[in-house]
């Protein structure tokens, strides 16, 4: 099994305005895959489709080698899921919630759950409904990890949490991943957070996957170039030109994807010159990518 999640030609419609159409997505096994996108881009819907919580109109979904939604129960027994909103029974205490969850998961690991309970400093007798947002986030992560999943699907798990809680939750996640080599599929719009530990990145907007590449390639491949004497219509460049803007005089700023250093030769061949190659961090690259996707020609 080379991919933990494989989505092929997925089609789903919610209401009259939102649609996921012809979505193809692959999450390599063992990867930490960051699923980026602005609010309302379709990240949560894609996750719910991948786990069989929603039924697609068309397409094929395979998770951990089994098809979804046909084999959803079998797959879900091996998947730790942290949804966007806390959804647990508010009247059950923390301890009762653990017991409830443990009854459904054959691989539930009590010693690990107890360790996380102490590590997260959660009060056992506190009802879920009375926990703070940070405590709820910790408990959700605890539940996902204690079932010893092969795949963790996390839908904005740290959204709205303070930095201390966020660090606790993410470090528990990374501990687990380093021990078990589990696959992580984590959605977020907190770009800088994903930058630190993801090795793959997928960007979604308006129900479509704009790009899906290894993190290094994304970070190293998106550049801002300062170009002199560029022709009005460059002839088949070896990179993807995302945007070009006039700077001053004969100088322009180009935003490009799939950039490699030897490509400066291309500019010499068209009579232009590269004055400067500026690195973008993930957040800048993400923003520029979205901007060019939404208005393709600048």
């Amino acid at each position: 099994m080379s991919n933990a999640i494989e989505i092929h030609q997925l089609h789903y419609r919610a209401g009259r305005t939102f649609e996921i159409k012809d979505l193809d997505l692959s999450v390599p096994a063992g990867a930490i895959y960051g699923f980026l996108g602005p609010n309302g881009s379709g990240k949560t819907t894609t996750i719910r489709l991948a786990l069989g919580l929603l039924r697609p109109l068309a397409g094929r979904i395979t998770v951990l080698g089994d098809t979804i939604p046909e084999n959803a129960p079998h797959v879900l027994a091996r998947v730790g899921f942290v949804p966007e909103q806390p959804h647990l029974d508010p009247v059950l205490t923390v301890r009762e919630t653990l017991r409830f969850q443990a009854a459904f998961y054959p691989a539930w690991d009590w010693p690990w759950a107890e360790r996380l309970l102490r590590q997260f400093e959660l009060q056992e007798q506190q009802p879920f409904g009375r926990l703070s947002k940070g405590q709820k986030g910790k408990l959700m992560m605890l539940l996902a990890l204690a079932q010893r999943p092969e795949l963790l699907v996390l839908d904005e798990p740290t959204d709205g949490l303070d930095p201390v809680v966020r660090r606790d939750v993410l470090s528990a996640l990374l501990d687990y991943v380093s021990q078990r080599r589990a696959t992580v599929f984590i959605s977020s719009h907190l770009v800088h957070e994903l930058e630190r530990f993801c090795d793959w990145i997928g960007v979604m907007d308006n129900g479509r996957l704009i790009t899906a590449v290894p993190m290094e390639r994304f970070k190293n491949g998106v550049k801002r170039l300062r170009i002199s004497d560029a022709p009005p219509t460059p002839d088949s460049p070896p990179f993807v030109l995302l945007a070009r803007e006039p700077a001053n005089g004969t100088t322009e700023t180009w935003l490009v994807r799939d950039w490699e250093p030897q490509m400066t030769r291309y500019f010499e061949s068209i009579g232009a010159a590269v004055n400067d190659v500026i690195d973008l961090d993930l957040e800048e690259g993400f923003v520029e990518l979205l901007r060019t996707f939404r208005s393709p020609r600048s």
């Binding site: 079998h74 797959v75 949804p83 959804h87 029974d89 459904f104």
Partner: protein, 218 residues
Amino acid sequence: MFRVMLYSQWKWCRLIVVLGSVAGFALPLVSVQGAARADSSPLQAGELLQAVQSWGTLYPVLAAALGLLVAIATWAPDHRGRHVHALSLPVPRWRYVLLRFGAGATLLAAPVIAVTAGALLAAWGATIPAGLQGYPVALAIRFALAVLVAYAVFFAVSAGTARTAGIILGLIGGVILVQIIAGVANIDLDLFGRLQVVVLNWPGPLAIFSGRWMLIDV
């Protein structure tokens, strides 16, 4: 799995179940209160039957109320969480629904047992005039069936979305509207009467609720 589901539902339903059990236990005893007094002469058979019958109208009401409230409480945690937790558990959906249904039905055994105990105690302690007999077991079985029917109906309705509720309310509204229009147009159409016959008369689905609920009868 069933045990944790039962416990979860107990936390949501305990007040309903406890109050329903107390009411269920008290109802048969109260209905024969006059006949059970040791210091007064036994009521005449007719008066006793009348008293038992008037209290008896409360059994189907109690059964329906218990079915409704426990059904609503059964789905409450899932509705609150928009069913995300339920759907993400590694069990087939039909099995999850059965677990929920079974847990609620098990909790409803408490008021049924309370009615049985109350009816047995009332029948044993009452001074029953000649020609009349106590039917505590029959009453308890009927109550159990009525509770189960009410619970099943409301469980199915509560399982639905707001859209389902809208469809049901729309149907009821449609029947009322047709009846009003028929009345205004002087058309001889008694939809409610017909519905009542279809639903509440044997073999209608809610026939168990109609008729006399008698702890003591001829």
